[in-house]
């Protein structure tokens, strides 16, 4: 048993793709609310409370307000602003659009938190090993830049070319350091490439090592998630979950397919939360047993 974040990156990717895809493409009120709730809860579990929630709330408010101001469809007029009607339907649509956008933002917030660059490299390595090599070399260079800049500026100071009294001289000096750093990095890159070639890079078949391996639990989760999202998609495609916003807000009558679609999506969206809760409980039990 692992926390959801520690499953194989493929599993994590499948989850986020399914939840975000369904909530964006099946614009259905109940699905959007479930998705928003589970994305917010999971984000709180992963990243905790922080300043980003204020930012998300602002985006929610802004998207909620924009739609009734821009779109004037709908039959129920709430008030008239600048000779333009503000309708109830456009406001309701704005509310669900805001729920959709915020749930995607929250989901991507957790996604960025879980999917560190090494996991991205693993995922890209499946697609194209060469591309993932370019990325890993690029990422390695970033901390190296700051080290190089420090070395170069020390050397420039020793040479006495670096003046920082006058702002124009300071900018010129910074540009010179940047230029030296670019030349240095390019030359170093060529050295790297030459030693790679000398060791026979690109001669054989490219393989890539990774510390992630798909295990049985990953396969089970991927199959379960695909099945749940397939059920939801079928229910949506059957038309049982159709919702009309314009000219008046209308949902299709309650039916078995609607219930099944909502339940399966709720289960899919809450999967990582359930997994993490079960994990925490089992951990508690195991620890208490060990102390007995």
């Amino acid at each position: 048993m692992r926390t959801f974040a520690r499953y194989d990156p493929v599993t994590v990717l499948v989850y986020f793709a399914a939840v975000v895809g369904i909530s964006v493409f099946c614009f259905e009120p109940m699905l959007l609310l479930t998705s928003l709730a589970s994305c917010v809860v999971y984000n709180l579990m992963m990243c905790g409370a922080g300043r980003s929630h204020i930012y998300y709330a602002l985006i929610f408010a802004a998207t909620l307000v924009v739609n009734p101001l821009v779109s004037h469809d709908g039959v129920t007029v709430l008030l008239v602003l600048n000779d333009r009607p503000i309708t109830l339907e456009a406001t309701v649509y704005g509310l669900f659009a805001a729920a959709m956008i915020c749930s995607t933002l929250y989901a991507f917030g957790s996604f960025t938190h879980i999917m560190t660059s090494d996991k991205l490299l693993y995922l890209l390595g499946i697609l194209s090993p060469k591309l993932s090599l370019v990325i890993s070399m690029g990422l390695r260079l970033i901390p190296e830049f700051s080290r190089d800049i420090k070395r170069i500026s020390e050397a420039q100071t020793t040479l006495g070319v670096y003046a920082d009294g006058n702002p124009i001289d300071a900018i010129k000096g910074k540009l010179r350091i940047f230029s030296v750093m670019v030349s240095l990095t390019l030359e170093n890159g060529i050295t790297t490439a030459q030693s790679m070639e000398a060791r026979g890079w690109g001669v054989g078949k490219r393989t890539n090592y990774s510390q992630y391996h798909i295990k049985k639990a990953d396969v089970i989760l991927i199959v379960a998630m695909s099945a749940l999202s397939a059920i939801t998609c079928i229910c949506v495609a059957s038309g049982a979950m159709n919702t009309e916003f314009y000219p008046s807000f209308k949902t299709s009558p309650m039916s078995c397919a609607k219930l099944v679609g909502r339940l399966s999506f709720a289960l899919l969206a809450a999967l990582p939360i359930l997994n993490d809760i079960v994990y925490a409980i089992r951990k508690k039990i195991l620890i208490s047993r060990a102390w007995r």
């Binding site: 493409f25 614009f27 995607t104 960025t112 090993p129 390019l186």
Partner: protein, 228 residues
């Protein structure tokens, strides 16, 4: 596993994607799915285009040295994205495209967005940004010789690419918000993005003017010295 390591599968994808899958997705989307789901098609086509690039990159025998230089340029543009307000991503992608070829321009533009979004926030906009910056680099590579020769063309390219970036990304904003393309929303988002568009264009021009000569010299020198 879903590998494209297999040479045969890669070749199939390379021809199937542009010739069958992308047109088919657009046609099917126009005929079968109602207009509320435009975004699905746009996203599918975007991902297919990026996948096409991945397969092309793996197949093409892009030299080790050129590859390493591409990653240096990518790293430079990631670091450059931390400069407040004025971002040199387009400029660096354009310069790489001019001196290393169109494909390298695409690679530098797309990868620097993908990687720097780990700091700036990954989102559903990532594939669109990747494609937008990648294409800006790619077209610069196709115009390479002319851009190197005439300074005025380079400045013009900087201005146009800033505007083009806004136009591409606002299509995506409208589709994301609304599900279908709405011209009045598009106009509103373009108008609200005018200050950003100006900043994009101005920073493109500034960086192209500052960097194109010095970086170009360095890249030319490296190319000549090591025979890339």
């Amino acid at each position: 596993m879903l590998t494209v390591k297999n040479k045969y599968a890669r070749t199939v994808l390379r021809y199937a994607l542009p010739l069958c899958i992308i047109p088919l997705a657009v046609l099917l989307g126009a005929v079968l799915i109602d207009e509320k789901k435009y975004m699905l098609i746009v996203l599918a086509v975007t991902l297919a285009a990026l996948l096409l690039f991945c397969t092309g990159f793996e197949k093409k025998n892009i030299g080790t040295r050129r590859m390493v230089i591409c990653s240096v340029m990518t790293a430079l543009s990631i670091v450059g994205r931390f400069i407040p307000l004025f971002k040199p991503i387009t400029a660096i992608a354009v310069i790489s495209a001019m001196y290393l070829g169109a494909e390298s321009g695409f690679l530098v533009g797309a990868l620097s967005v993908l990687l720097s979004n780990f700091y700036f926030g990954q989102g559903p906009w990532t594939p669109f940004q990747m494609l937008a910056f990648g294409l800006l680099g790619y077209f610069a590579g196709l115009l390479g010789g002319a851009l190197k020769k005439y300074r005025i063309l380079l400045i013009l390219y900087g201005i146009i690419s800033g505007i083009a970036f806004s136009f591409i990304m606002d299509i995506w904003t409208v589709l994301w918000y609304n599900g279908t393309f709405n011209i009045s929303l598009y106009r509103a988002s373009l108008l609200s993005a005018v200050p950003y568009t100006l900043v994009y264009s101005v920073s493109n021009v500034i960086y192209l003017c500052i960097l194109s000569d010095s970086m170009g010299q360095k890249l030319e020198r490296i190319k000549k010295k090591y025979g890339i």
